[in-house]
């Protein structure tokens, strides 16, 4: 039980620490990515818990929310901010695809470790590749949203 809380608190510190990695000229982009990821994970997280696909035995605000607050509203949005901030815009499509795969894998590996060794997450009707695909889709959606959002702003600014 104690190790789980150490991980949760460490996730908070690491997530806030990662703010300082984001380049200063990308702060608005990262902000939009952060908020949009929250919008996705909020809905998706509630649906998977409601349908008994996943459960989070150890979590913050346990009596109010049965989803993982730390992961869905802080850690994953922060990872997505980093993702869009360092996106290789001027490289080939293969490198972009590998970049997506790298980030999806980087997000899935800690989840599998947490699944095996801690009580932070428990799969009921879920598998690791569903996690990987949903994370990949979230990255894709957020990147698409950022492009669309800033394109609209660009047209408005003129």
């Amino acid at each position: 039980m104690k190790a789980e809380w150490v991980i949760i608190i460490a996730a908070w510190f690491v997530s806030f620490g990662l703010i300082f990695i984001i380049p200063k000229n990308k702060k608005r982009l990262a902000f939009v990515a952060f908020i949009f990821t929250q919008a996705i994970t909020w809905l998706a997280g509630l649906i998977v818990v409601e349908l008994h696909l996943l459960s989070y035995p150890v979590r913050s605000f346990a009596d109010v929310n049965r989803t993982s607050f730390t992961y869905e509203y802080l850690a994953f949005p922060m990872a997505n901010s980093i993702f869009v901030s360092f996106y290789p815009s001027f490289r080939s499509w293969l490198l972009k695809f590998l970049y997506y795969c790298l980030f999806a894998t980087l997000m899935t590996i800690p989840e599998i470790i947490a699944l095996k060794f801690t009580q932070l997450i428990h799969y009921i009707h879920w598998t690791w590749y569903l996690s990987w695909l949903s994370i990949f889709a979230t990255f894709l959606l957020t990147k698409g949203f950022c492009i669309w959002f800033f394109k609209g702003l660009h047209m408005e600014a003129e």
Binding site: F16, I19, F20, K24, N25, K26, K27, R28, L29, F31, V32, F34, I35, F36, Q38, A39, W42, L43, G45, L46, I47, V49, E50, H52, F61, D63, V64, N65, R66, T67, F69, Y73, P77, Y87, S89, C146, I147, F149, F150, K151, G152, L153, H154, E156, A157
Partner: protein, 183 residues
């Protein structure tokens, strides 16, 4: 104290006032990382004039209502995801952001006092709506939360949203650079 003689302090204070009064100019647009941290804590997506409903999602409402339910201030007996969460999803995800978006779009570009009055009127209407819902339905139930506390909470939420909105759109030339970098 020596603080009063510090010329930087006066500058910081005046900048801070400009910031909260919404008088953001070009020189004030380089908000530093401490401010950025603040925005992430009070994470709320600002609305654009072009599209409001699809883009204005609010984490801050979620955090606030999680805390409210946690401390038994508010409860939501009838809700969409009864097993997954104790919070009413529709209002937090769609209604509050939408109303906040309309508030920001129709805000008059007048003095600070008029805008404060405008916000107060808006919040009063919104609180009346909430109290009506509370009285006649089981969607919301206030346990230890009188109507004026609801008013104050919504006032703070809307004001913070407006501040973030003004920060986000304080320098429109930035978006051009970001667009070029992205494509």
């Amino acid at each position: 104290m020596a603080l009063s003689g510090n010329p930087n302090r006066k500058m910081i204070l005046s900048k801070g006032f400009d910031f909260f009064a919404g008088r953001l100019s070009r020189d004030c647009s380089n908000v530093d990382y401490r401010a950025y941290l603040f925005f992430l804590v009070y994470a709320e997506k600002p609305a654009t004039e072009a599209d409001i409903s699809g883009t204005n999602f609010s984490g801050i409402h979620l955090v606030e209502f999680t805390l409210s339910v946690h401390f038994h201030l508010i409860s939501f007996p009838v809700r969409e995801f009864p097993k997954a969460t104790d919070i009413l999803f529709t209002t937090e995800y769609f209604l509050h952001p939408l109303i906040c978006g309309f508030y920001i779009i129709f805000e008059p570009k007048k003095s600070y006092a008029i805008r404060l009055l405008y916000l107060s009127l808006w919040i009063t209407g919104f609180t009346i709506l909430n109290v009506i819902i509370e009285k006649f339905t089981n969607l919301i139930h206030y346990i230890h939360s009188p109507w004026y506390l609801v008013w104050v909470i919504f006032f703070c939420l809307f004001a913070v949203t407006n501040i973030i909105y003004r920060w986000f759109f304080s320098d429109k030339s930035i978006f051009r650079e970001e667009k070029e970098r992205q494509s």
